[in-house]
Symmetry: C2
């Protein structure tokens, strides 16, 4: 099991921390307490989170105790300077809703029935100034300013507000309160999680091992997948979306995705890695990765359907119409159960940015074509069939595709 536990680790502190903790678990005949923190300001999980969550699941499956810390305390304060628009204070209701969403999405990877959930307001909300001073006296300003973003801001003379330097300490105090043996997180959490080690040591406890997972680069091919950005593949994306997004990844990310988010067995994994090495069309490997990922978060069947959908709507489209957005015939039939819709209704279905009256004006003005033929009668009935094209104005072109074959 140590093989699986030690896979995909970016940085571990101390270097031999995992082995030491597993030995401790053996020696004391007890499961390890494995901590993962969650900031309830944005509930939805993406594939980047899944990298860490899969590690969490590995510990869970190895019989260890998983403790999720919901950082509701600081979320309920937000950024009191009002400087950080990303951190408005959240209401209890928002925190509860975000936490519920988070837990339900966690369930896609780990067994949420076999884990503990703690809210750090349980202890942080009860601290008075006297206790706060005792906690923060364990840490020096220089230690805190080692954090990369603080160091940069300090160097560039950008303000760091005093409460900000408390946050990593408080997060470290969570590890003291739950007696964490191991804390998981992305490499961007390394500093905060090492603070947990420092505080546990200052409190005379055994320091947790900090295990960080590599950060997954997002759809843009440059930035890490972000909970607020547009470069993310969400765990709750539809099978079609998830599959399509993975297919759209820059080729250079394929090895990372293969390692970090698939669950191929060792033989399959090696084979695919081999294939990449042999300069085979990367599309083939990408499809296997996409199907594997969709199967993990949805089902094997959903993965097959998503693959078929992708082939129909993206791959099989004739080159002539590659700039046409697809209109799926199945959905059209659903929307117009009575049969052929009017031209205005069809345009209304296809476009997302025009009112019916704008569409009517455009049709009357000769701006709409079906199969390249201008039609100025807004009430003309249009037969819907695969391959027919619809042009609405100069820029919006559609093609009806058969997604039901």
């Amino acid at each position: 099991m140590i093989d699986r536990l030690s896979a995909n680790i970016a940085i571990m502190e101390p270097k031999d921390g995992l082995r030491e903790k597993l030995a401790l678990s053996n020696k004391e005949s007890r499961p390890l307490i494995v901590k993962l923190g969650f900031d309830p300001t944005a509930p939805n999980l993406h594939l980047g989170h899944a990298v860490v969550l899969k590690k969490l699941r590995d510990f869970q499956e190895a019989g260890h105790r998983i403790v999720i810390i919901i950082g509701d305390f600081t979320a309920s304060i937000g950024d009191p300077t009002g400087r950080n628009k990303m951190r408005p204070p959240l209401s209890v209701q928002e925190i509860d809703a975000n936490s519920a969403t988070y837990i339900s999405q966690l369930d896609l990877v780990v067994d949420t029935k076999r884990m503990e959930i703690r809210r750090n307001s349980d202890w942080l909300g009860k601290l008075d100034l006297r206790e706060v001073i005792k906690i923060i006296s364990k840490v020096t300003v220089a230690q805190i300013l080692q954090r990369e973003d603080f160091r940069q801001r300090f160097k560039s003379e950008l303000p760091i507000h005093v409460h900000e330097i408390l946050y990593p300490i408080l997060q470290g105090y969570d590890s003291v309160m739950i007696n964490a043996d191991i804390e998981l997180g992305g490499t961007d959490q390394l500093f905060n999680n090492l603070m947990g080690r420092a505080l546990q040591q200052a409190y005379g406890m055994q320091a947790q091992a900090v295990i960080t997972s590599p950060l997954l680069i997002g759809l843009d091919g440059t930035d890490k997948m972000s909970k607020t950005g547009t470069n993310s593949i969400w765990l709750k994306d539809t099978p079609e979306n998830m599959y399509g997004k993975i297919m759209s990844l820059p080729d250079n990310l394929i090895p990372d995705y293969l390692s970090l988010v698939t669950d191929f067995d060792a033989a399959e994994h090696a084979e695919l890695r081999d294939a990449l090495g042999r300069q085979i069309n990367p599309m083939i490997v990408k499809k296997k990765i996409a199907a594997n990922v969709v199967a993990q978060f949805h089902s094997q069947e959903a993965a097959q359907q998503a693959a078929a959908h992708f082939e129909r709507t993206v791959q099989r489209r004739d080159p002539e119409h590659s700039d046409h957005a697809p209109l799926a015939i199945g959905k059209l039939r659903e929307s117009f159960p009575a049969g052929s819709p009017s031209l205005v209704a069809l345009c209304d279905f296809a476009t997302t940015d025009m009112s019916r009256s704008e569409i009517r004006r455009l049709i009357r003005g000769g701006g709409v074509r079906v199969d390249r033929e201008k039609i100025t009668d807004e009430n003309a009935k249009i037969d819907i069939g695969p391959g027919r094209t619809l042009w609405v104005g100069k820029r919006s072109k559609f093609i009806i595709v058969d997604d039901q074959r």
Copy 2:
């Protein structure tokens, strides 16, 4: 009155703060709230404190409201790192005792019946982490690291613990809580007191003016008078001690002491300053300063007696015996009411570092002389009279002086 209020100010922030606040007082027809903080870790006041306290009295006499803040909150925490031996946590009893001593010594300068005393534990002791975060978010790390001692330590890579940077903020919060218009202090308090301005502004209040008094250099002629050091003249020193200590000051400090701690009227003050300029023997001016200071903290009569004592014991001693320590005949007579003491008793009275058996050995060995004559009988009766000398061993020489003339 503004003349007196504006005397002896080292640094004022803002530059025209005093005038502005007095105008405010006039406009709103209300007394100003004048804050002075007290750290109850060491209760005794020295002449350096008196410089600030005299300023406080001037505000009191001008009808303003004096608020003394006893910093009992942080004193009861001490330095939780245990790094600072000067700051062990104090018990409530110690804080109460120190505060009582402080108030009774304040009474030597200000009218303690017409002032408010607040303990900052009243508000700081009630803060929870949520409120603490709101307060400290008003301040940046860079602002705090501007404090000279922090800047030095940060530069030299000496640890600054995170709680330490909270203390100036909390002290500033005291100004918010009492709505201070003016905060007094020594120049060493400038940074902390400016923090009060910053916090009041952040809370949308009118910022206090910060008025700092020059620091008084102590007996060593180099360092500021310190509450823990050995270079201080204590307000509770006996008249003789206080007078003698002032007489022992290096001459270059005379102008400072004349300005900062005497209460001569303008004409006398100018005359003495003149005298210093005319290179008259500084001893003459020093005596007037010493008498003036003793009269302030004791009485006119005590000042006269202290001056006479000084002349008798220090000045009138013949040059031949200038290296002899004085034994006051009054005290000798008190100690030996039956009359002439034995030689061993006299030596025991005079020395502070020898046991009776050591003295006996020394006498028997011929190491003790009275009026230069060796006496080896330890039980010899000695007549005590002014001018008689006693040598105990090679280094300890005494002369009996008449302090009762």
